[in-house]
């Protein structure tokens, strides 16, 4: 025993937490099977992602121009409504009162208008579907909003008709106002539409988006649409400065659909259709290239569990706690190590999967215009990639903590798989509502971190129904909850 250990000699400039971290990291890398398993997690994840991408396909692009028109920027848009209009030049103001709205399905009669039925005012480049525009509309469901070039730019009050609306054009700037009585106005917002020429078409619009019926069966969804029509009454229509030309009615996008009548300055306009950017079927091209993470999660779960249960199995947990009696610190350090390893694995696997998967998916039909081309220069792609890494990291922590709680490999792995993978399968067979809640209530929702498209109920995938943030919250809650429980049990139980 030649080395005399003094406190000074052993401090080595590291804090206690840092030393325990180094110890737990040494424990991890010194078991080759775990390192191999984590490398295998990368390979398997990439392999399954690529296979899955190769097996996916869509004919969305083949049919897209039958249903959509190119918008001002060339991207597909739906642009159909009934337009009662006249040409006008220069700065102007149009005002009207939407007195009432009612609607029904075209094939059956329902008294209620669709919540999204629109009645309002529009300034449009031309009567060509897909041309530039700015509009202010009132809807029964969402109140007043201002749209321009197929995007909502401002939202106003949540009041439904009757409502006074006004659009003012000053150069390229369009300003929208609303009022309850036609005397006291409040501004909804303004927007620049530089595509508008000096002479535009101005007037009233009525539209009614299709009703959507989603039918879910195990493993598939069918999205059906029913056409609806909405009728609205307009009164107190004025176009400044002092022009009252001849009002013409056109079914934009849907020629021959809709009509209007005028009696003593009171207009009754019926129209159908929607004004919106193409939203696609909800398929998420980024997520589609990261499908292999379901395998990655299983491998990471197994390693996370074994990282703890082998210590119990061999009695090494006693050595660990004699070396570091602060058990909470040991647990936290283990969590940091396994989370760090899993995050790195996830990051690498996601990057490779994405880079290999995107060209395959594009070849299989997931290409513009129906699908945006995604690349690493899009920040949202990085959100999905780091989200995938975070998914693995948090599943690893969850596995570790459940392993501390059960102390048995088999039961811990079963439990984690049951919580993170099983709900995905079960979600396929459930109606949309329960499937969504299953994702919000189980850590399986964490897979939503891989999505970049808005939540939708039009897909089979239950994960598509919740937002990434919701998925992160539920997964974090499970990881943190089990961490607290595991820490409490560790301090309470004999080692």
């Amino acid at each position: 025993m030649t080395t005399r250990l003094s406190d000074r000699a052993t401090a080595e400039g590291r804090g206690r937490a840092g030393r325990v971290l180094l110890a737990e990291w040494t424990k991890f890398w010194s078991v080759p099977r775990w390192v191999m398993a984590m490398l295998a997690a990368i390979v398997l994840t990439v392999l399954m992602s690529v296979l899955s991408a190769s097996g996916s396909g869509t004919d969305e692009n083949a049919a897209i121009w039958d249903l959509y028109v190119p918008g001002p920027d060339g991207r597909p848009v739906q642009d159909s409504f009934h337009f009662v209009h006249q040409p006008a030049s220069g700065d102007l103001t149009i005002t009207a009162q939407v007195v009432s709205q009612e609607g029904r399905a075209l094939d059956a009669s329902t008294a209620e208008p669709e919540a999204g039925a629109m009645a309002g005012l529009v300034i449009k480049e031309s009567t060509e579907a897909g041309s530039a525009y700015a509009a202010i509309v009132v809807t029964p469901g969402d109140g007043v909003r201002m749209d321009a070039n197929f995007e909502t730019v401002h939202t106003g009050s949540t009041e439904a008709a009757p409502r006074y609306l006004r659009l003012t054009r000053t150069g390229a700037t369009i300003t929208g106002f609303e009022s309850a009585d036609g005397t006291r106005w409040s501004e909804v917002g303004e927007v620049d539409v530089p595509e508008l020429p000096d002479t535009i078409e101005v007037g009233m619009l009525v539209g009614s988006p299709d009703g959507v019926v989603v039918e879910r069966q195990f493993g598939s969804t069918a999205v059906g649409q029913t056409s609806t029509i909405s009728a609205a009454e307009f009164d107190n229509v004025s176009l400044e400065p002092g022009r009252t030309g001849f009002w013409r009615g056109n079914g934009i996008g849907l020629p021959g659909v809709g009509q209007f009548t005028e009696a003593q300055g009171r207009f009754t306009i019926a129209g159908s259709g929607d004004i919106a950017a193409y939203s696609g079927p909800g398929d998420d091209v980024v997520q589609l290239s990261l499908i292999g993470f379901i395998v990655g999660v299983v491998v990471v779960c197994a390693v996370g569990v074994l990282y703890v249960t082998t210590e119990y199995k061999h009695g090494m947990i006693r050595t660990s706690f004699t070396v570091s009696p602060q058990r909470g610190r040991v647990l936290a350090t283990k969590a940091v190590v396994i989370a760090g390893v899993a995050f790195t694995v996830g990051l690498i696997a996601a990057l490779i999967s994405f880079q290999l998967g995107q060209p395959i998916l594009r070849e299989n039909g997931f290409a513009p215009p129906a699908f945006d081309t995604m690349s690493l220069s899009d920040p949202i792609v990085w959100r999905a990639i780091t989200g995938s890494a975070l998914l693995l990291a948090l599943v690893a922590v969850l596995s570790l903590c459940i392993a501390v709680i059960t102390r048995r490999s088999a039961s811990a792995i079963t439990l984690v798989i049951a919580l993170t993978v099983l709900p995905l399968l079960a979600g396929f067979g459930l109606p949309a509502g329960p499937a969504g809640w299953l994702m919000r209530l189980t850590p399986a929702g964490g897979f939503a971190l891989q999505r970049v498209v808005e939540p939708t109920e039009h897909l089979v995938d239950p994960v598509a129904m919740i937002a990434p943030l919701e998925g992160l919250v539920v997964l974090l809650a499970y990881a943190a909850g089990t961490l607290v429980l595991a820490g409490w049990l560790l301090n309470r139980r004999d080692a």
């Binding site: 052993t10 401090a11 099977r33």
Partner: protein
């Protein structure tokens, strides 16, 4: 840094089973103390409580006056070998010691030093899964010595060792005590401690049966007895018993005489002209002393393996 291990009124129960029942003893520096009792007597439980692994229901176990959990870098105060199998089989021997060193701020060169000390240098980079029980014992001992601690606890360290290993570990225990360390060694076989222990704490069913120095114990067990080697066994027995001694035969031609001094025995045998080749004070073995003790305690038999600990 004096590091006595002090156990006071320790009580620990697992469900309905009382494992340790009001146990008190002190392990002093510079001595090898044997903790002896049959399997299931509470030896391992006591050691786990000392190391803060199991919590005592009552009583305290202090190391240099402090509970284990409050020690900074505890393996530099107390080194312990509880279970030689407590290593991940996929890990290399050196890596197993390396993580322990990292956690306690012990430099790497110390790892290589203890590997050399226990004679595992050639196996240091092999995976523990391929180790014999004896090699695992040595690795466990290396872990206990890693922090160069003033107190050491070994649970059944002789288990699985070959005779050479047993000799080695006895020497090591003696050396550690000579260096001034407090050494606690448990065993269910008293004979294993022969020649290495200075002090004994004998327990049975969680209770203390004896807390004594080996010297005192042997003296007590040997007291007043004389061994006589003679070829005239029956005549010698007659002569000696006539003088009031009780006589037993332990071997061919060896009598154990109680109640007479050696000089008196020689005088009697000489007077009767009986041949004898040796008359000496009888020295009891530790095993024998232990059997005496446990027979008095009347609670258990040291020879039967009994319940697993």
């Amino acid at each position: 840094m004096t590091t006595d291990i002090e156990v006071r009124d320790l009580r620990k129960r697992y469900g309905p089973t009382v494992a340790v029942d009001g146990l008190s003893f002190t392990i002093r520096s510079g001595q090898v103390t044997g903790l002896v009792g049959p399997n299931g007597a509470g030896k391992s439980t006591t050691m786990r409580v000392i190391l803060g692994l199991d919590s005592a229901d009552e009583g305290t176990a202090l190391i240099g006056g402090r509970p284990y959990a409050s020690l900074r870098n505890p393996i530099r105060h107390v080194g312990a070998l509880l279970d030689a199998g407590a290593v991940h089989p996929g890990r290399r021997a050196r890596d197993h010691l390396l993580w322990m060193a990292h956690a306690s701020g012990i430099p790497k060169r110390r790892v290589d030093e203890v590997i050399e000390l226990v004679g595992l240098s050639s196996a240091a980079r092999r995976r523990v899964g391929g180790f014999s029980l004896g090699m695992r014992q040595r690795l466990g001992i290396a872990g206990a010595l890693l922090g160069d601690p003033p107190a050491l606890i070994f649970d059944e360290p002789v288990n699985g060792l070959d005779p050479e290993g047993i000799r080695w570990i006895r020497g090591l225990l003696r050396r550690l005590a000579t260096e001034g360390r407090a050494v606690l060694v448990s065993s269910h076989l008293m004979s294993e401690l022969e020649g290495s222990a200075d002090h004994l704490v004998v327990i049975g069913r969680g209770k203390r049966i004896a807390d004594t120095s080996v010297q005192d114990l042997l003296t007590a067990a040997s007291r007043g007895r004389v061994a006589v080697r003679t070829t005239a066994v029956s005549e010698a027995i007659t002569v000696l018993t006539q003088e009031g001694a009780s006589v037993g035969v332990i071997d061919h031609g060896v009598l154990i005489v109680t109640g007479l001094s050696a000089q008196r025995a020689i005088a009697l045998l000489a007077a009767s002209e009986l041949p004898f080749s040796e008359v000496s004070g009888y020295r009891a073995t530790l095993e024998e002393a232990y059997l005496n003790l446990t027979r008095d305690a009347g609670e258990f038999s040291a020879a039967s393996p009994m319940e697993a600990s």
